[in-house]
Amino acid sequence: MEILESLGIDWKLLLGQIFNFLLILFLLKKFAYKPLLDLLKERTKKIQDGIKKSEKAQEIIQMVKEQKDKILKNAQEKASEVLKQNEERGKEKAEEIFNQATKEKEDILVAAKEQGKADIKKMRKEDSRAMLGLSFSLLEKILKEKINPEKDKEITEKFLSNLRLNKNDNE
């Protein structure tokens, strides 16, 4: 045991050092290493969760994008369909209006023609009556000077019978 003494080994000090070391080890284990290992594990888990979540979010974004495209496409198709329908309907309506207008125009034309004809007839009647009056007065003026009453009577009768004949022809 002399070698131990010459090395400076003192059993009490040795036990003290052992106790110190074990105490430090225990304290560090309890207050530093274990919480740290737990923290590392928790962090690893959190990071893994985060990565998983971000992947999921990416998937959802993709899905939403696809859906959006689908909806947009549908809407466009519908819109073009509605437009087409409206166009057709408009065309039909325009045609209808046009047809109606044509018909009305023809009716008006026919009515106007008839009216015109009637007017012309009326005017002719009036004209012939006026002309007749005028001619008579003119004739009277001329004949008063050259013809005697007998001759006048004869000519007038002759003219009147002629006129009646003419009138019959006209009717």
Partner: protein, 235 residues
């Protein structure tokens, strides 16, 4: 202070209950408290996103864990030995570095705890004991002891007993390696300072820094390797 003052035993400071408390003992307690204080301060507010000193300590401890895992090749075993190996590493590192602090050299008022065999032997004995206890917890009491007391054949019994003696040798070799390196280093520093205290000690201080880092690494690595072999079942 001269060469004639060199003594292997530490210098007793005072006595408590008949135990002479040496300067190395006091310093080892102080350093232990400092190491614990640093770690508990750094990891007091454990944030999910580490900042400042927490980040630094986490970086170091994670590196240590990775190193242990690299040696053992098993995450679970690495986590089991991690507290012991890390404590050994940082405690011895701090003790070694304390020897370089001016005024804390060998034979002055305070002396690095690792230059006292009581400290190194204490650490070696407790860590080896813990290694065996952890191995027993893993393999069962008989599962572990059975590796050293194998009655199946006389040859295996002899081999097992040799292994058992080997475990004791390992303990002393750990203690004496650390003590020898640090003590020799301190003596070297003293001699160099005695020869010429100006500029000449600088390369030796660098050498001492190297030793101060390498020795705890060797100690911790050996403990990890011993645990690796002790925690595997025998034949």
């Amino acid at each position: 202070m001269g060469i004639h003052e060199i003594s292997i035993a530490a210098h007793p400071m005072f006595e408590i209950f008949g135990v002479s408390i040496t300067n190395t003992f006091i310093l080892s307690v102080v350093i232990g408290l400092l190491v614990f204080g640093l770690f508990s301060f750094a990891l007091k507010q454990r944030k999910m996103v580490p900042e400042g000193i927490q980040n630094f300590i986490e970086f170091i401890l994670e590196g240590m864990l990775g190193y242990i895992e690299g040696i053992l090749g098993d995450r679970k075993k690495a986590e089991e030995i991690f507290p012991l190996a890390t404590t050994i590493f940082f405690l011895i590192l701090a003790c070694n570095l304390s020897g370089i602090v001016p005024g804390l050299g060998v034979f002055s008022l305070m002396r690095a705890p690792t230059t006292d065999i009581n400290f190194t032997l204490g650490v070696a004995m407790s860590s080896m004991a813990l290694v065996h206890i952890m191995a027993m917890r893993r393999l069962g009491v008989w599962g572990h002891i059975g590796k050293f007391l194998n009655f199946k054949s006389p040859i295996l019994l002899f081999v097992g007993m040799l292994e058992g003696v080997g475990e004791i040798t390992k303990t002393f070799s750990l203690a004496i390696r650390l003590f020898g390196n640090l003590f020799a280093g301190e003596v070297l520093m003293l001699v160099v300072h005695f020869l010429c205290a100006f500029m000449l000690p600088l390369p030796f201080i660098m050498l001492e820094l190297l030793v101060a880092v390498i020795q705890p690494l060797i100690f911790a690595s050996l403990i990890i390797i011993f645990y690796g072999t002790a925690s595997t079942a025998g034949h």
